[in-house]
């Protein structure tokens, strides 16, 4: 009797999975044709119906929701993310609170960091309040699913911009920090190059390109390295500090933060190799171009504010006569604020509350933060006031504000 029951169970479970797999397979294919077969209301025949459903949806939103998948879609897109954020009154940013410099709870319990400040800048732009943020702390592995679900307004959590992520996850707004993967080793190992890591064990944090870059590096150089993967940075760090791993690898910014937080930073050295390109910046969900443009514009504002020498302490209150500065601050002409649904003086608010890119960098990553040198690195500005055409060697550059 038991075995009969059991057999039934197996059949039911496999049926359920077959159904699930079948549905997925069909929607992964040519969606217009195969998807329609499963959906009760196929697209082409009900265009008129769904159009009328839309007009209803605008007037009586709740009724339209019950009309089926398409109506739901339309009501969703009818309300832009900007509107939703303003109705909600806060900005949901997926971030982290475990890495000094990028996202960290300081001694007073306040959430600080480079990524956090970018989130605050967007909140200031759309809500006028840098504290109107709702942070969601997620692990590295959760980043893709989180931004894909669209439940957060922005993902600002040391995310490396890659083409497949751009295609699958969301839109990458702007590179705000050029990073690259490096290795941290203890001084007493006496090695000076990552190529000398033959026979070592290396700790990495999971759910990042770090693991795959490391494997590429191992394969390319035919090294025998044991990879130990942790879910959380904290556990990986503990393992490195206890000597279970000979080296810790991550983005150099993260490696610097880990080194900074060890008992004796001088006992650890970051090896010279950078084994990957890691441009970091905010990501927004797919499907709302206005929101994507807003985030990009906010990043431009931060960068040009530094280029023009506007700091949180010296934001002019009236027109300066310099057309570029006046355009940035919204005194004279516009750079598209109203098209994006932003206040004319949005840049003034942002800079007054958070400062320009340079101030944010210095406060979190630079001399007042974890001590990453900016001068001469890729993270210096491309252009610097007063001579905008005199290259400074850096790569921080954004769409001009006009």
């Amino acid at each position: 009797m038991l075995s009969k029951l059991f057999r039934k169970k197996i059949v039911l479970a496999s049926l359920a999975f077959a159904l699930l797999a079948g549905l997925l397979a069909s929607c992964s294919g040519d969606d217009a044709t195969t998807g329609g077969a499963e959906t009760p209301e196929p697209g082409p025949t009900t265009t008129a119906e769904s159009a009328s459903a839309t007009t209803e949806a605008v007037t009586e939103g709740t009724e339209a929701v019950t009309e089926g998948g398409e109506a739901v879609e339309l009501t969703q897109s009818a309300e832009s993310r900007l509107q939703r954020v303003r109705e909600r009154g806060n900005l949901i940013c997926a971030g982290r609170n475990d890495v000094p410099g990028f996202g960290f709870q300081n001694d007073e319990g306040r959430l600080v960091g480079f990524d956090v400040d970018l989130c605050r800048a967007i909140a200031t732009a759309v809500l006028g309040d840098p504290n109107a943020i709702e942070p969601r702390f997620i692990t590295a592995a959760e980043r893709g699913p989180t931004i894909q679900s669209g439940d957060v307004d922005a993902l600002i959590r040391t995310v490396t911009w890659t083409t497949s992520r751009d295609a699958q996850w969301g839109n990458f707004a702007q590179t705000m920090f050029y990073d690259g993967q490096g290795f941290l080793v203890s001084n007493d190992l006496g090695i000076s190059s990552a190529l000398e890591l033959e026979g070592a064990s290396v700790c990495v944090t999971q759910g990042t390109t770090t693991e795959l870059n490391l494997q590429d590096f191992i394969s390319q150089n035919n090294l025998d390295i044991q990879v130990v993967t942790f879910e959380e940075t904290d556990a990986a760090k503990a393992s490195y500090e206890a000597g279970q791993c000979d080296s810790y690898t991550s983005d150099r910014s993260n490696v610097a933060a880990i080194r900074f937080s060890t008992d004796n930073p001088e006992d650890h050295v970051i090896l010279p190799e950078t084994i990957s390109e890691e441009p970091l910046g905010p990501v927004v969900p797919h499907g709302d171009e206005q929101w994507f443009d807003i985030v990009k514009t906010v990043m431009s504002i931060l960068i040009y504010a530094e280029a023009y020498g506007i700091e949180s302490g010296n934001v002019p209150t009236e027109a300066t006569g310099d057309p570029k500065v006046d355009r940035l601050l919204g005194f004279d002409s516009s750079f598209g604020q109203s098209d994006l649904g932003l206040e004319q003086t949005v840049a003034q608010d942002i800079i007054r509350e958070l400062g320009n890119y340079g101030e944010i960098y210095k406060r979190n990553l630079g001399s007042d933060g974890i001590g990453l040198t900016r001068e001469g690195s890729r993270n210096a500005l491309w252009a610097n006031a007063p001579c905008l055409d005199c290259p400074r060697g850096g790569q921080i550059y954004a769409a001009p504000l006009r």
């Binding site: 038991l2 075995s3 059991f6 169970k9 197996i10 479970a13 359920a16 999975f17 159904l19 699930l20 797999a21 549905l23 997925l24 397979a25 929607c27 992964s28 294919g29 969606d31 998807g35 499963e38 959906t39 998948g69 739901v72 879609e73 592995a141 699913p145 894909q148 679900s149 295609a167 699958q168 190992l189 033959e198 026979g199 070592a200 064990s201 999971q206 759910g207 990042t208 390109t209 693991e211 795959l212 490391l214 494997q215 394969s219 044991q226 990879v227 130990v228 993967t229 942790f230 879910e231 556990a235 990986a236 503990a238 206890a242 000597g243 279970q244 000979d246 969900p285 797919h286 499907g287």
Partner: protein, 404 residues
């Protein structure tokens, strides 16, 4: 005639036959409707958000690291060959989970039984210690226990200054010890086949002699003679294989530190993360199993044990031959749930740095479609769990009270 009239007289809303069918159909439709509705919602959401799905990626080469693996695994693409595919990499990871689960289940059952019996011991200290064990380990979340054991292991010296006792190396990267390693395909495989046949033969010796013992009442030492048969046959096979292939089937290799970082090579190394995971899972699950065993033993009437004792069986034998077989009926079904729990709890491995199925799958989602990968992971866990249920139910049939 009268019967027909009576049958027609029952209105359909009071006909139990109709009502039963209606209830079945309505609940069936409701279930199908709910599933369909959820599926449609899911597909809409997937299309809305452009989440990639499909299983075409499975045959592509993966090339991500798997820190520790029992099955052979090649992550690197070279001129000579390509990296293993996504599908095979998932199977390698599933292999890790299966090994952890099987070892964990065996150890947890042994430890749990000992503690369960200990709780019923007449010795005050033993019973109170068992009680404290159970109450402590089942009331602290497993993840915290795992971090605790990780901290304990990390407190060991690192590899370069590790402890060495003879050929045993203990450090915070793991424990290394001498281990027989296969010398080649021909000698190893042929001996393994012969050894398996020897075991089968030994089993038949055991069965025959135990039947004789039962029939005649004379001692025939079934276990001892079975073991002797296995040893003699196995050793003969070893000598034969060595003579024919000119190579011993297995050669013991000894661990030794190697290279600048002093990593131990040779012998066998159980990585620290695996030790932590196993200790955590076994200690945690054993607490639950101990309670199940205690309940099982207590479900057997006191009279049974007293009768066994009055027949002259000693404490151990009355437990082994009288109480335990009856207790198994109560023990086996909830025990299987504990095996399943242990298997599923092993997915906490990534927190302490062990590359189990979920850990590898999560890394894969960085370059593969997350939804498809997680569906596969769910399927694999389902298969493992169903396998346990199957074995458990088959065994349960042998212990359940036979219907009369």
């Amino acid at each position: 005639m009268a019967f027909e009239e009576q049958a027609q007289a029952i209105p359909f809303w009071r006909n139990t036959q109709v009502l039963r069918w209606t209830a079945q159909i309505v609940s069936g439709l409701a279930a199908v409707g709910l599933v369909t509705w959820l599926a449609i919602r899911m597909i809409n959401a997937i299309q809305d958000r452009n989440v990639p799905v499909g299983f075409g990626f499975l045959s592509r080469s993966y090339g991500g690291p798997i820190g520790h693996h029992f099955l052979p695994y090649n992550p690197s693409t070279t001129a000579a060959d390509t990296a293993d595919s996504f599908l095979y990499s998932l199977l390698v990871a599933a292999g890790n989970t299966v090994v952890v689960s099987v070892i964990g289940v065996v150890l947890a059952t042994i430890l749990g039984t000992l503690i369960g019996v200990g709780r019923l011991s007449g010795n005050w200290l033993v019973s109170k210690l068992s009680l404290s064990y159970v109450e402590f380990f089942r009331n602290v979340p497993l993840l915290i226990q795992l971090f605790f054991w990780l901290t304990v292991i990390l407190a060991l010296p690192p590899v370069r200054s590790g402890i060495q006792i003879g050929d045993l190396f203990i450090n915070n990267a793991g424990i290394s010890f001498p281990w027989p390693s296969p010398t080649g395909v021909a000698p190893t495989v042929s001996w393994l086949v012969l050894a398996f046949l020897s075991l089968v033969a030994a089993y038949f010796v055991y069965r025959r002699r135990s039947r004789l013992e039962i029939r005649t009442g004379q001692p025939f030492y079934p276990i001892v003679s079975g073991c002797i048969a296995a040893l003699i046959l196995g050793a003969t096979a070893w000598i034969l294989v060595t003579a024919i292939t000119n190579s011993v089937p297995f050669d013991i290799t000894y661990p030794a530190p190697e290279g600048r970082f002093g990593r131990i090579s040779g012998g066998a190394t159980v990585p620290a993360a695996l030790i932590v995971l196993l200790i955590g899972l076994v200690m945690y699950t054993a607490a639950f199993i101990a309670e199940i065993v205690r309940a099982g033993i207590q479900s057997v009437r006191k009279g049974q044990r007293e009768a066994a004792r009055s027949l002259g069986l000693n404490q151990f034998r009355s437990l082994r031959y009288v109480v335990f077989p009856q207790a198994l009926r109560v023990i086996v079904p909830p025990l299987i749930s504990q095996f399943l729990n242990l298997t599923k709890n092993s997915s906490l491995a990534v927190a302490i740095g062990y590359s189990d199925l979920l850990s590898v799958a999560k890394t894969m989602t960085q370059i593969g479609p997350a939804l498809s990968i997680f569906i596969l992971v769910m399927l694999i866990y389902l298969v493992i769990s169903l396998a346990y249920s199957l074995i458990g139910n088959l065994y349960n049939r042998t212990t359940a009270i036979k219907g009369r």
